[in-house]
């Protein structure tokens, strides 16, 4: 076979070929992006109903008018999200620990934890919000809060704790039994083994799925609107129906994206790093 390069400059030729390939790759991806995205935009914009849709959903004037108010409403979402998330992280862990307990005396607690996760994972979140938001105050018990924000937050916390408890439990189950044997052989008690050896590893392992649940909760905060508090979605809805223009809803959507997209990128990066670590391979 006839080679175009001799031994001495094969390295340079290889380098040149690699560069050519990456240039070609960049060119192809740029052109295909323009064609696909441009085509989709053209399709939407040239449709018969587009002028009407543009007026009702993408009116710049309506956006500017409604945005400050929607943003104020969104602040409530953010506060609610943070408070609920903290409660969920703690309550979820407590429930997970109740589920894995093996002491006979704690059997009722374990049973309760199982019923709890089955119940709150099985019922749609919006239903839980309705039942708690309207049902609890209807009991007219003294001391039960009646603020819809508080009740909505409580409902979200109860619902999400069930999911998060299962995430924690999966993490605990994923730690190899040899780690526990190792901890016990040092003379640690069961509780110490769990606290010092199992849980730290389990929690680290479930950070990505926990973050995934965070993103989901961040959006579901909007469900609390069914109880009436003026959070972003509710504000946008009111503004939309009073002006017959849906642009405020787009404003709310943009705000939700401002939080969820960065969270998603953080999650991506974590998973990429995790992949690298796993690639090294750990011997246990």
């Amino acid at each position: 076979m006839q080679l175009t390069t001799d031994r001495s400059n094969r390295g340079a030729a290889r380098e040149e070929a690699r560069r050519r390939k990456s240039r070609r790759g960049a060119g192809v991806s740029a052109i295909s992006s323009v064609v696909v995205i441009g085509g989709l935009i053209a399709l939407v914009v040239s449709s018969k109903g587009w002028p009407a849709v543009q007026e009702t959903f993408f009116s710049w004037a309506a956006f500017k008018d409604s945005f400050p108010e929607v943003l104020r409403g969104f602040w409530l979402d953010v506060k609610l999200f943070i408070c609920v998330e903290i409660v969920v992280l703690v309550l979820g862990l407590v429930i997970a620990l109740c589920r894995i307990t093996s002491a006979a005396a704690l059997y009722p607690i374990r049973l309760l934890a199982i019923v709890y996760t089955d119940l709150f994972r099985g019922v749609p979140t919006i239903l839980v919000i309705y039942l708690i938001g309207f049902g609890l105050p209807a009991l007219e018990l003294s001391g039960v809060p009646t603020s819809p924000v508080l009740l909505g937050g409580l409902a979200l916390a109860l619902s999400y704790s069930a999911y998060v408890a299962e995430v924690y439990r999966a993490g605990i189950d994923s730690i190899h039994p040899s780690q526990k044997a190792s901890a016990l052989s040092l003379g640690l008690t069961n509780t110490q083994s769990l606290r010092l050896v199992i849980l730290p590893q389990a929690v680290r392992r479930v950070v990505p799925p926990l973050l995934n649940d965070f993103i989901s909760l961040q959006k579901d905060v909007a469900l609390v609107s069914v109880l009436g508090p003026l959070e972003a979605f509710r504000v946008a809805q009111i503004s939309a129906s009073s002006n017959f223009n849906y642009t405020p809803l787009i404003a709310a959507a943009v705000l939700y994206l401002c939080v969820t997209v960065p969270l998603a990128r953080v999650l991506d990066r974590m998973q990429a790093r995790r992949g690298q670590l796993d690639g090294v391979g750990t011997v246990r």
Partner: protein
């Protein structure tokens, strides 16, 4: 010289489901001595060590530690485990802790030693074992040989009455076996009491005062290493050693 028994195993049986792994094992380990357990995979070596460290509950018989029946249901098993050191085949270091943190975990949390003292002792031990430069490294970044040496240091840090070593070189690359076995030989010279399950016959010959050959859950032959490994009397032992010889492992 009278020899003080440290570990006594008396008629211990253990079954996992239908699989009768130990069928009545009697064994005495005296102070400053080393007993090597040899035998094919599945002969019960690991199970016996785990039974002694109370990581596995026995079905029948007794295990005594310094004359106390530690397999009695009324005995505090955490307390008993604190007096024994165990090194696993697969190291089982804690991957979320550094080498030093791995070593001081037992002394601080199981033995209640002050952190400063535990750190100081850990440093001394790591230095002696040539690991002090890796004290702040995580286990994943260490070679297999280094990891197993850390596991040995971790077991020693609690100043155990006896060490139980469960095939500690079986998951190492051949060129790393030496650096781990050297340490065990050193510990033996210092008078450490040890029970050692191993596939390394030359090592057993070098370090053990007594070799016990386990076959199908019983000790089929026991005695002086030279005798058991050089001139075995039982047909099972002869067969096992011949197989090793053919595999080039003797």
């Amino acid at each position: 010289m009278t020899q003080t028994p440290v570990i006594e195993v008396d008629g211990v049986t253990k079954a996992f489901g239908d699989n009768q792994v130990l069928k009545g094992v009697d064994l005495t380990l005296t102070e400053h001595n080393a007993v090597a357990l040899i035998g094919a995979s599945g002969s019960g070596k690991s199970t016996l060590l785990r039974c002694i460290d109370l990581l596995v509950e026995i079905d029948d018989g007794d295990v005594l530690l310094d004359g106390e029946v530690i397999t009695d249901p009324s005995c505090n098993l955490v307390e008993a485990r604190r007096r024994l050191g165990f090194v696993f085949q697969a190291f089982n270091l804690f991957p979320h802790l550094t080498v030093r943190e791995n070593v001081v975990l037992g002394p601080i949390h199981a033995h209640g030693r002050p952190r400063a003292q535990a750190d100081e002792e850990a440093h001394e031990l790591l230095k002696r074992f040539g690991l002090d430069k890796r004290a702040d490294a995580y286990p994943d970044t260490l070679s297999g040989g280094q990891q197993q040496r850390v596991a040995l240091v971790r077991a020693l840090a609690s100043r155990p009455r006896a060490l139980l070593l469960d095939e500690i070189t079986s998951s190492l690359d051949p060129e790393l076996v030496g650096e781990v076995l050297e340490l065990v030989v050193e510990l033996k010279a210092e008078g450490m009491t040890m029970m050692i399950a191993t596939h390394e016959m030359s090592f057993a010959r070098e370090v053990a005062d007594e070799v016990c050959f386990l076959s199908e859950g019983r000790i089929a032959e026991r005695g002086d290493p030279e005798q058991v490994l050089g001139d075995p009397q039982q047909p099972e032992t002869q067969k096992f050693l011949r197989r090793l010889l053919e595999a080039g492992r003797l």
